[in-house]
Structures are given as C-alpha cells and as structure tokens.
C-alpha cells in the first residue's frame, strides 16, 4: 500500500496592523487607493517638496521646540520665558528639520519663499501664542498608542461580507502636538481659559486637560466651498475634530485621566495679516457657526487685534464627552476594519488598483498618483482644481 504524506498550507506572517490616526486612518478615509500607494506601498509623494507640507513640518517643529523650552520646569521643560531668542532658535530647529527632508540645493525659488514665510509665521505664532499656552503644556509631540480588538466584519463600503482574517488586534497611534494640563475654565481669565469656558457645557472650576492640534491652514470655510461642496468642507472640519478626539481616546487607555477638551488651532487664522487671501474672503463661514470671527468682523478689529480675538478666530474647541469619544472610537474601528478588508482583498492576489477603492473628491486635484487612478485615467474629463491643503497632512504623517 502506498504511503501518503500530507503537506500543509503556509501560515501567514503574524503581523498586527499598526495604524496611525493621521498617517493611516484619515488618509485611508480620504482615498483608499491613494493611501495604498503612499501609505502602504511607501511610494513617495511628489509634493514632498511642496510648500504646504514642508512649511507644516517647519512650524510644527518650531512650536515643539519652543513649547519644550518654555513649558514649566515641573512639566519637564526648561521654563524659559517666551522671547525673541527662544522663537529664533525654535525656528532654526524647524528649518534644520526641513533641510534634512529637502536639501536646500534641490529647492525651487518658490519653495524657498514659502518656507521663509512659514518661518515668519512660526516666529510670530510663538511670540503671540506662547505666553498664554506654553505655561500649561505638559508635553509636546507626544506619541500615544493603544491596541484594540480587530472587528471581525468587513465594512459595507468596501463590499462583500467576508470576515476579516484572524489577527485579534490592531495598534493605533498618533502624535499629539501638545497636551495642556491644569486649565481652569474662566470666562474672564487668560484667553485660553476663556476659550475653554465657552466650549464646555458645564464649565465648573475643576482644572481640565486639553489635547491640542495645530493646523497650518485656515479653518475650512463654506465660503471656499466652490466645487468641493459643503459636505466636503464639513467633513474636513469633522476630520480635524476626530483627530483630537482619537488622540484623547488612545491616550485614555493608559493615562490617568481623560483630556476633557480638544482644541484645533488654525495658525493661518491666528495671523491672517500674513495671509494674502484673507482680504478677499467673504460669505458664510462654518467657523462662525462655532462662534468664531468672520473675515468681515476681523477687518473691523484693526491692525493690532488682541490675542483673545485672534484665538477666538483661529480655534475650534470640542468637549470630549462620552458621546464624542464613543463616536471617535467607532470611527477608528470602522476605518481599521475597512483597511484590513482591502489588505485581505489584495492578499487574495487582486491588484491594488482593484482591491483598494478610489474616492473621488476635490482632493483628486492634488493627488500624485491620479495618472494611474482608474477613476481618472481614461475619464477624458477635466480634473478639479487644486484643493486647499488638508491640515492633517502637514508635518504629521510620520507620526509613529
């Protein structure tokens, strides 16, 4: 009788998905295929040389440097006063970081001009914002990470009803720009405290922690909707708020207490006098719905608006209550499952351009891989114009 020997199947490598809030979750949401190319495949982005990304990197690094130097000694900082020397060193630090990504020798004149402008913005932001914010900082550029159970369903949005592969968990992480602690809401106090007081349903006098995210952008406005549509603009705002809520949720897994407030600061709105566009904007403003100052109102403030007015215009504050956190958590799980579903599809020998859906949006105008995109490749129609840069794509994509 012939002996029989059985050969097994090759087990898949045991790898838990590692997802970053900005670098993976939000990029996937914006367009799964684009995320597959740049995020998973590590294909470089042609706009890596572009002004917005590098300027964002410069400004974030400068704020990190200044925040670390000037935050209180007991928070691990050096406790220096915010002054021109600190600001100058901080900007130098940001410039050196940018030099490491984009050598000066390979920069265009336009790019260099944009980086010079970003250096000015960073310097002035530190001087204006620093004295009010830095004393509350407990950490800057802080990496937070958590693991979550992998949902075992495949989301409808990528089709099918297969179960996901059996990795039990995924890791989700992010780098929050700043964590402020000990903020006592006070309508008549420091501008930050007033800002928080105004955003809380029941402010009280108990100190709160705040997760802060800087965006080198203006707050998305319906006045700029154009071809993008209000849904797109609102989605962008929601993505920014989701980001701070997600950081708070991730940090919550092991931190002693949850941050109660999330703050997004749109730096270009903090210093609109540096932004040549601000004089030409008009129309309804989504920010106004949240109590921010419109362009028209801004003009009335004259040449030297107060810090409170600047912050009022530039910040969006969200109370991180249970509902917000639950919503952010569900969104994290949903996107993680969708990413895994696409990866599974590709693992079954489906080409990436078919396994990862495309998402047609105003962002397509900025997409490097659009020449290869099935959505556009042979469409024979014009592409949308260049969309405003998303804040989350600036300076944070290597957060982990």
């Amino acid at each position: 009788m012939t002996e029989t020997f059985e050969i097994g199947a090759r087990p898949r490598p045991y790898l838990l998905p590692r997802l970053r809030v900005a670098g993976d979750l939000l990029r996937f949401e914006a367009c799964p295929l684009r995320y597959r190319m740049h995020g998973v495949g590590a294909w470089p982005e042609a706009d890596a040389e572009d002004a917005p990304r590098l300027a964002g990197m410069l400004v974030h690094a400068a704020l990190d440097h200044a925040g670390t130097a000037c935050r209180p000694m007991e928070a691990g900082g050096q406790g220096m006063p915010v002054d021109a020397v600190v600001a100058s060193r901080a900007v130098g630090s940001g410039q050196r970081l940018v030099d490491a990504v984009s050598p000066r020798a390979s920069r265009s004149v336009a790019l260099q001009g944009a980086l010079d402008a970003a250096a000015t913005l960073a310097r002035r932001t530190i001087l204006i914002l620093g004295p009010h914010l830095f004393p509350y900082l407990a950490a800057t550029e802080q990496r937070v990470a958590a693991t979550r159970r992998q949902p075992d369903y495949m989301p409808d949005e990528v089709g099918g009803s297969r179960r996901l592969r059996k990795v039990e968990r995924f890791e989700v992480s992010g780098v929050l720009d700043a964590l402020a602690t000990g903020l006592v809401p006070d309508p008549d106090g420091d501008p930050f405290l007033a800002l928080i007081h105004g955003a809380l349903k029941q402010p009280g006098v108990v100190p709160v922690d705040a997760v802060i995210d800087y965006k080198l952008a203006r707050r998305p406005r319906t006045s700029e909707v154009g071809s993008r549509g209000a849904t797109s603009v609102r989605g962008e705002l929601e993505a920014h708020l989701f980001q701070v809520a997600a950081y708070a949720r991730i940090r919550d897994q092991f931190a002693a207490g949850r941050a109660r407030v999330g703050i997004v600061i749109y730096l270009n709105d903090l210093l609109p006098e540096l932004d040549s566009r601000h004089d030409t904007q008009s129309g309804p403003d989504l920010g106004a719905e949240r109590g921010a100052i419109t362009d028209d109102e801004w003009r009335l403030l004259g040449d030297a608006p107060s810090v409170a007015a600047r912050l009022h215009r530039a910040s969006t504050v969200i109370e991180l209550d249970d509902d917000v956190i639950a919503e952010a958590t569900a969104r994290i799980d949903r996107i993680a499952a969708a990413i895994e579903a696409c990866a599974e599809h590709e693992a079954a020998s489906v080409p990436p351009r078919l396994a990862w859906p495309t998402r047609r949006s105003a962002l397509c105008g900025d997409c490097d891989v659009r020449p290869m995109c099935p959505e556009w490749q042979d469409a024979g129609e014009s592409m949308p114009g260049v969309a405003p840069k998303l804040g989350y794509a600036q300076g944070e994509l290597d957060d982990g």
Binding site: E6, P13, L16, G41, A46, D99, S102, M383
Partner: protein, 788 residues
Amino acid sequence: MLRPEELFGYLERAAGRQSPDAGQRAAILAPASAGVRILAGPGTGKTTCIVTRMLKLVLCDGVPASGILAMTFTRKAAEEMRSRVLGDGFAIIDAAREDRANSPAMRTALGAIDLGQVQVGTIDSFCARWAREGSDPDDPFVAHVDDAGAAMAMEEVVRQRLRGADWRPAVAFLRELHRPHVPINQYAADVALQAAALHDLWRRRLHDRVDWAAFLAGAGADPEASAGRLQIHLAHREYASLLKSRGAMDHAMVQEKARRLLANPVSGSARRPAILEGLRALFVDEYHDTDLLHQAVYFALAGAPGCRGAITIVGDDDQAIYRFRGGTVDLLADFPAAYHNAFGRNPETLVLDVTYRATPEVAAFVEQFGSLDDAYQAVRSLGRKALRPGRDVAGAPVLGLFRPTLPDLARDIATLIRGLVHHGSVETPAGRIVAGPGRAPSDLALICRSPQERDRQSERLPAYVRRALADGAHPIAVWNPRGAPTRSGRVAALVGGLALRLLDPDGDAFRVASPRLLDDAEAVMRGWYEDLAAFLDGAGGADPTRARELIRAWDLGSRRSHGPWESDIPVVAFLYELAGALPDAVVDTPEFAVAFGLFLKQAEACRWVAPAATFIRRSGRDLTVVRASVVEVIVGLLGPVADGRRRVEDEGPDPFPRNRVPILSIHQSKGLEFPVAIVDAGCFLSPRTYAFQRMPETGAPEHRFEKTVRPYTELWGRVARSDRDLACDDLIRSQFVAYSRARDLLVLVGLSPCAPDFVGQRPVPNLATGWMRDGSRSWAENPPMVML
C-alpha cells in the same frame, strides 16, 4: 503579578500558543537581571521564547514595559516580534483580568500595563533615533542615505580621485582585496568597482571598529602599500565630507554616532539618549550576524544604570550568513568572555534543540548535514546539542531530483509543482505526497544561492523553471523580484524608455550623458529605447494608446489627462505620469510595483546624492539649462536603475503573491519557512568551474577584507582560520539555512554530476551534497534522500 505557571497557562489558553518546553522554560525563567545567551537551532521557537521572556519580565517580575528593548536585524522580524508581544501579551492580560480567581487588585494592576511601551525595532531605526535625540538643538538634522545612495557618493569621490596623480597605489590595494583576478588596467578604469571596494572598506572600518591609525601605519616600510592606505584614508575623508555637506549620513555613520552617545553619555545633558534612563532589559535577536560596532552598542545599552548587564541574546552559529556585511559569528561564540569583561560575571548559556518547524525527516536531514564536515564542527558553538524533532507525525522523506540538463531538471521541478498545486498530489517512489486544503503556489519555494535568472553567459535554473511553469494549459507564474532581469525587464523598459523618449527625443542629452554612465547602463538604455519603440508600434499585444497620448501631450507642454506641466517638474511627479500611461496589463502586476519602485527609490536618493536630478527643468529657460537638466536626470535617476546599482532589496514583501511560486535567494529566505522547499543543491556540470559556489579553493572578497582589517580590531589574536576554511564554513552555513526552511517536504535539486550518489566519471565536488572539504564523500553509498 502573575506567577510563571499562570503566565504559561494563559499563554496556552488565551493566546493559543504551545506551552514552552523544558529548554524554553529555562530561558524564559532565567533571572531578570541575568545575562543570557540562547543558542537556538532553526524552528526551535526562539521568537516565542524571547517574547514570552519579555512578557514574563513585565507580567511576573514587574519590570515596566517601557524598560524592555528588543533589537532585530530586519523590519520584518521586528514587526513580527512586536505583533507577538502585543497579540500574546494583551490576550494574556485580558484573560487574567477576566479570571475571577485573580484578586481585584491584580486585575486592576494588569489593566494598567501598556505593552505598547515595549520597544521593538531594528538596530538601524533605533540608532537613527538615538543619534537624533543626542544631537545638539543647534546641530543640523541629518538624513540617512541608503546603500545605493552611499555608493553613488563614493563613486563621486573615486571620480575625483582618478583625476589626481596619486590614486594608483590605492587601486592596487583595493584590487588585491576585491577582484585580484581582474586585470589592473581594467580595474583602474572601473569607477563602480573601486567605489564598491572603497565603500566595503569604509563599512568594515566602522563596523569592525578598526584602529585606523594602526591600519594606516600597518603597511610598514613598503612605500607603495603605505601610499595606497593613505589614499584610501583621504578618499574616506572626502566621502564623509561630501555626505556632511549634503546633510546626510550613511547607516554605519549613524550607528557609530549612536554608539558614541550611548557609551559616553553626558550626565544630565539633553544629549543623553533617553533610553539609558529607563532601560531594564535588553534583547538582541540574530546575534550570529552581529559585528563589533553593534556589539559595542548593545554593551553600552546593557551598561545603563537600570539594566546592568540584563541582556538576552539569541543566535545560531549555523545560520550566520552575513559575513559580507561585516557580521561575524565569532562574537556569538565569544559572548561569555566579552560579557564577563564588561559586567564582571558570567552569562548563562541555554540551548533550544527541539525543532517544531520541520517533520522528523527534515529535522534529521538538517542535523545530519550540519554534522557532516569534520572541519566545520570546530567552529560550531560549544554546548550545542543535536536538533531533535518536536513534531511526532512522520513526514515525507527528503527527496532528491537530479537531471542531466537544466531543461530536464526544470521540466521535472515544474511537474512536481504542478502536481501539488493543480492536482493536489504527486506520486513518488517514497509515497504519495498530498497537498492539503487551502494550498497555493506560494506554499512552495525554490531557494537558490542566487535567484538571478541569467549570468553573463547563459540562463540559469530560475529562468528555466519560470519557463517550464509557464508552459502548458495551466501555467503557474513565479515571483522572483531579485532574480528577474528587472532593469532590462518590460516595466523598466517602458518606464525608462518613455522617460528617454519624452526628455530626449533626439538623443542629444543621451550622447552627452553616455561617458558618465557606468557599466552596461548605456546598452541597457538603448534596449529601453528599442523596447519602447516596439511597444508603441503595437508589438507584444499591449495597448500603447495611453503612451502615445502622453507623448503627444508632452510635446504640447501638458500632462496626458489634465493641465500643463510646471516649469520645474519634480521627477517623482514625472514618474507617476509615466506609470499612468502604461497599459493596465502592465501596471496591475506585482512586477510593476517592484520595478517602478526602483525608479521611485532612486528619485528619493537623488535629493542627497544628485540634487540636480530631482527636477526636470523644462520650458521658458535657456536651452542649455534644459539639456543639462536632462543629462543629470539620465545620469542620476535612470543610470543607477539601468546599471543595476539600484536593485531590489533582500527584504521583500511577505506574504508573497499567493498565486506565484516564490524563487528566493538564501538570504531572502532567512527567517521564513515553507511547506515545500525546493533547494538548488548544485547546478554544475564541471568540477573545474564555479568552485567558490560548491567547494571553495580560496576565500572570497569578504574574507580578504576581514583578514586585512582584523589585526587592527578587538578580535585580533583569535585563532585564525584560512580563507578557504572560512569560505567553506560560510557555504555550509548558507546551505544549512536553505535546507532548514522546509516544513513538510524538502527537495534537493540539481544537475546529475552534483547528485550525492553520482557514479559517472566526473562527479562535481559539492559541500551541499555530502562532500567534505577534504574531498571525501559521505552520501555516495547511502544518500539520506529518496532519489526521483
């Protein structure tokens, strides 16, 4: 905290892992503060062992998760280890928290443990982080150039040196080490060869921590030799200056900077790497491939105040195959002495000898192969035990498939693969081999010393197997990213050809660039031109419509589908536009991602080593500027792809495409396992050729480099082996790695004269098939395999 037995219980029940065996338990349970050397044969569960020891330190001994640091050599290994820490660890924590037998206080304490704080990564990534942390706030940030980028910088230095008068002694020195068989005039004219040798010596200088002053003085009274060493010293200095001027460092420089910061921390300084504060236990995987610089980094870390020698290393001297990168197995063997010198006590040595990967038949074969050559036994680590099978179900015997010609051999390999993939079984003299459910072509791997499909003269086995599998009614594709002729393949030809067609339609810039192109790049690029022309004419069946549209649009100053080009076009954007003009049938293949990735990686490297090639200067400028820009793009971007300097890396994607049969080099296969491993055991017809691949008669360049610098390193004085012995040892090790990749079925394949039982007139001596270096044959009478 948990007791170890509870940990093992949860590990089995909640994480689905096998309970550790006696050897693994001993390693896991060694005291937290101990130095531990684990000698672990293939498939003996070293990853499980390391991960469980880490979890034991955190969950049983109360070591903070942030105090655990584990270092591996590859990203893939790091990712897998980290996944296991999180996956197994949180499964254990969750189960323990749900277990009402545990006290509420313990459950709460376990819930607060953040295993995400455990740090796992490659030595490259960690050193980059520490070097960055240790920089003064006013220091410029530095970018890290990869090996191909570093090679380009070194070539720049060599070109500069060649213009001087004194470079000849250096050429003679490098040639003697590197390619003594190449005529001196030919070597002296080859920039790429000299740069490669210079770069190898640079890496050895740093990785072997060479006493450079002694090396320079080491030529004694020989003026020619002294002049050669001095020239090399000057060239190295120029290389370092060149990178510095561009804000860049190579891997070796980054690691050396990290070592300095770790070994000489300034107390209380911001430049003191933060890891030194909280480190409690260090783990190092694959210690058999470590080098003196790496070891210095490890010992500096292990000397941190909270760590004090708590280092666990894992290695297997039989699997040391990275000598050519400076790795030396001597450091694994000498670890106890080095540890004692550093920490004043002895480490424990523990052995994992039960292999769970392979069937008893494969395990026995691997063990027998490793024990065959008498001279080899002298360099195996002391205390090593014979591998014992951990799987108790008998498997198929090892098979031998040797045929007179490569076409015959490839045909029969294809028959075997087809039978298992399409029919689910094959009949052999040993019995019926049945592939279980869920089988896929990627379950079978062809492992070769080199996966190259052709050498300068002819095609090699991988090419024949590719064709044989493609024939017939049910073709099976192979996945051979390193061995396929990528630079002259279809994707590269279309991308490169389109780039040349758009940028330089008349070939003017190409003529200017040609003298600066290395090796056969010019011929390869001419091939691109021709392949593109054929494609545009509709040859090959692929649709050229998009490519024609792209060419028309370019001539009008526009992209294919939308908008005008900017005047300075980033080459990355240009490359994406080219890719978008290719047919779907080309773009939607795994080969596209590999070949197109080479162009993208080179575009990134250009920022540091060829900044003028990062933009294409287009219209509105002086025509000479435009043409000069195109020349730079041809030389800096396309050249390294065409001449093969920009090549596919060892660490490719895994999982492989499920519908392809992977063809891998032994180095690519390291750390992987396959249900069926088909291993090239020798495709040689003559006992006069290719001795270095089967029965070395002398050493290879890596052995000569090692011998040259070793007198000026800490390892000087160790009992030296001859170059030939080193080469034979290395060959046995790499074949050991290849054979031990098999899980259920191992098939040795080759040409008939290499068969272990060949009885013809001219058998080919071959260490892979039972020969020993003294010329005797062990397997001639009774080969430990069933011959097909």
